[in-house]
């Protein structure tokens, strides 16, 4: 059987859409090739992955022209359940790709569907957990897993059928740097096994040593092709022109700004010895202290589970603190009085939309006239003006994320906390959000970022709070390259682990773990 994936002058238009999502694509993906599809959001990357895994044209209907041959099958015959035997798919949001609620059952799910005999299935499931090195995640509730753990379970689930092709759609979108490095190790093992890997991705830094080639897409077309070396040495101006994320984290530089100092003495925020917990006698925060005046953008750094989001929720008043005190302008605040002063943008945008249009969302519960100009301004600034009358749930994930930022901007609360505001965003949209964060800081607000996005941090940070085990390990101003390099080195410490040296078939060992 032919093992390559081939498109010849292939075009595709989703049903109900005016424009083609893919235009005149000619592409030959060889067996064992590692291909990265890059380009800004909406350029057609995901559409190619859907053609390969059979979701197009059966699940996502539309019209196509040209030739698409997947492992010798015409695209029309490549139904997802047929393709699924040899082509495994991993999606961006691992939470909504899980069909069962238990990690072991999830890993067994594909085998059950394809009627793998139980004895063989049990063996495959055990092997998958051991190959991905996640034996400790067996039998866990999928809701108790972190994003990184869920993505690893998704990988374990994908290897059970021993596929020949892996198709991944932005698998790193919700992951921190440590989890991305673990993802990289898994991909390296799969590559060493000889699997064909196709990834649509914004974050390129973890793929630069793995990919055989990068295809740059724009408006549904493949407009350029780069070898890893070419991508690695692409000039910054060229990268930014193409709206591509940095191919190497080491390249990311602090962006000094003349107006970095913008302190607003009218606003003071002090967190004093704050303890907080979800379960009784299991404290997550253990006496957090920090103080800020207005006009600062704080970046919270720390390893997974150190308490960054918990701190965000506690200083917002969403989670009660057990000990300590929080002061705004020297006035002790808790619960509702904190909620009146602090705005928290959660990771999941869908939980923060309540009306039937983007514009109404911004002015909801307020006097519309007074906010009209401000709402129009921020909608234009964030590239949302064209969709202002659309239902928020009809927007793309990136657009919804920007709406939540617009909500924070339009709010009159002086303190704004953003939890992973740029996850899964391309360079252009990340930059738009960075601009808005800067603007809020210039207005004298305090912005607190919980983010793993180093490029975003480089553009916005003025203060850093390092948290370790629920305590403040360090707190410092960021105004020089050295200050920023401390943050960068801390985040990149995950990269220092040794590379994988053996293949999965040969014993599945990674030196770093």
């Amino acid at each position: 059987m032919q093992k390559n994936i081939y498109f010849n002058q292939f075009s595709f238009k989703y049903e109900g859409q005016k424009n083609h999502s893919l235009s005149d694509i000619t592409l030959n993906i060889q067996e064992g090739e590692f291909l990265v599809l890059c380009g800004e959001s909406g350029c057609g990357k995901s559409t190619i992955t859907r053609c390969v895994n059979g979701l197009i044209p059966e699940f996502y209907e539309g019209k196509y022209m040209g030739e698409g041959i997947i492992h010798g099958r015409n695209i029309e015959e490549n139904a997802p359940e047929i393709a699924g035997q040899k082509i495994s798919s991993i999606f961006q949001d691992s939470r909504s790709q899980f069909f069962t609620l238990n990690s072991t059952n999830e890993v067994a799910f594909s085998c059950e569907n394809y009627g793998i005999e139980r004895k063989d299935m049990v063996h495959r499931v055990e092997k998958a957990f051991s190959e991905i090195k996640i034996e400790d995640l067996k039998g866990r509730s999928v809701f108790q897993l972190s994003s990184g753990e869920r993505q690893k379970v998704a990988f374990a689930a994908s290897v059970t059928l021993k596929p020949e092709v892996y198709v991944l759609d932005e698998p790193s979108a919700n992951l921190d740097i440590t989890s991305i490095i673990q993802l990289k190790k898994i991909l390296k093992k799969l590559k060493n096994q000889g699997s064909t890997i196709i990834i649509a991705e914004h974050r390129l830094f973890y793929l630069i040593d793995l990919a055989d080639r990068f295809l740059y897409m724009k408006e549904g077309k493949i407009t350029a092709q780069y070898l890893p070396d070419e991508m690695k040495h692409m000039k910054a101006e060229e990268l930014y022109k193409k709206m591509l994320r940095a191919p190497s984290l080491e390249q990311i530089q602090y962006i000094p700004n003349d107006s970095k100092r913008h302190e607003n003495q009218q606003l003071n925020f002090r967190v004093e010895g704050v303890w907080a917990e979800y379960n009784k006698n299991v404290p997550v925060l253990r006496g957090i202290n920090f103080e800020s005046n207005g006009g600062e953008t704080w970046c919270l750094i720390g390893h997974n589970g150190c308490g960054k989001t918990t701190l965000g929720m506690t200083v917002t008043g969403l989670l009660k603190h057990k000990q300590g005190a929080i002061y705004i302008n020297r006035k002790k605040c808790a619960g509702k009085s904190l909620l009146k002063k602090v705005f928290f943008v959660m990771q999941e945008a869908e939980h923060q939309m309540y009306t039937d249009s983007v514009y109404k969302e911004l002015v909801f519960g307020k006097s519309e006239e007074s906010l009209h100009n401000k709402a129009e301004y921020i909608l234009k600034k964030l590239g949302l003006y064209e969709v202002k009358d659309n239902h928020p749930f009809a927007l793309s994930g990136g657009q919804m994320q920007r709406v939540t930022i617009a909500l924070a901007y339009i709010s009159d609360k002086p303190i704004v906390i953003l939890d992973e505001p740029t996850s899964g965003l391309d360079y252009k949209n990340m930059n738009l959000i960075a601009d808005v964060v800067e603007e809020m800081r210039h207005q004298g607000k305090i912005v607190i970022l919980i983010s793993h996005d180093l490029e975003f941090i480089a553009r916005t940070v003025t203060r850093c709070l390092q948290i370790d085990g629920g305590k403040v390990k360090d707190s410092f101003h960021v105004s020089t390259h050295d200050d920023f390099n401390y943050i960068k080195d801390y985040m990149l410490s995950a990269l220092s682990e040794s590379p994988v040296t053996k293949t999965m078939n040969g014993g599945a060992e990674s030196d770093g773990e």
Binding site: G84, F98, L101, N113, I116, M353, Y354, S411
Partner: protein, 225 residues
């Protein structure tokens, strides 16, 4: 199968599903003054037998609270509480016990053993999957409202319903799309015979429980106590 896992004795998922189906069927049919109490007693006994003590206590507190409300309210509100909310608590308890007593996979396996058509089985399993995430979604929506300064105080029940319902439904629709796409690529529509990782067996004690349950509900239906 009666599983004696680390969380104790549990009936076969089909027995717990039977409790849900019978409670849902009878909750609006029973007319008696204390029908809601009888329904609740049956459901809470099933919770106890399934070793779901915490769930039982939680729902008992809720039931007592709502029952108290039904005594102090008057008119249409009293009717609403008695006819819907109070009986709804029993159904909620039955569904919670079913979900917490067996993973979705076990429930699906047991239904597959009953030769339920896949066309019914798949939507049912999707429904179970969503029910489990519902509480989490509602919690996050409440957080979102709090931080947006949206207060429910003084808002009409219809408005409150909309504020919660719109994001919950839209979130579900979106998740359903993603979930279906992922499931399609993992062979859910594969026409061949399916196999199961989980092993489920219907034992004598499950059969006895099913007969007793059916008997109690039939008695309640006939006597309209």
């Amino acid at each position: 199968m009666v599983s004696k896992k680390k969380n104790g004795f549990q009936f076969d998922p089909r027995v717990n599903l039977l409790t849900v189906v019978l409670t849902a069927s009878l909750m609006f049919i029973l007319q008696g003054e204390y029908a809601s109490v009888y329904l609740f007693v049956v459901v809470i006994s099933m919770a106890a037998l399934n070793c779901k003590i915490k769930i039982g206590i939680k729902y008992t507190v809720i039931f007592i609270f709502v029952y108290g409300l039904s005594l102090i309210t008057r008119g249409a509100l009293q009717v609403l509480i008695k006819a819907f909310v109070l009986r709804g608590v029993s159904l909620g308890a039955a569904v919670t016990v079913m979900i917490h007593s067996a993973d979705t996979s076990k429930i699906i396996v047991s239904l597959r053993q009953m030769k339920l058509p896949e066309q019914l089985l798949i939507p049912f399993s999707v429904m179970l999957r969503f029910f489990s995430t519902l509480i989490q979604d509602i919690k996050l929506i409440r957080f979102g409202m709090k931080t947006r300064g949206i207060s429910l105080i003084g808002k009409s029940p219809v408005m409150i319903y909309e504020l919660y319902l719109v994001p919950v439904i839209m979130r579900m629709v979106k998740t359903a799309g993603n979930l279906s796409a992922a499931a399609e690529t993992r062979g859910i529509s594969w026409k061949g015979e399916k196999t199961s990782y989980e092993q489920v067996r219907f034992r004598v004690v499950d059969a006895a429980a099913a007969v007793i349950l059916t008997g109690i509900y039939t008695f309640l239906f006939i006597t309209q106590l």
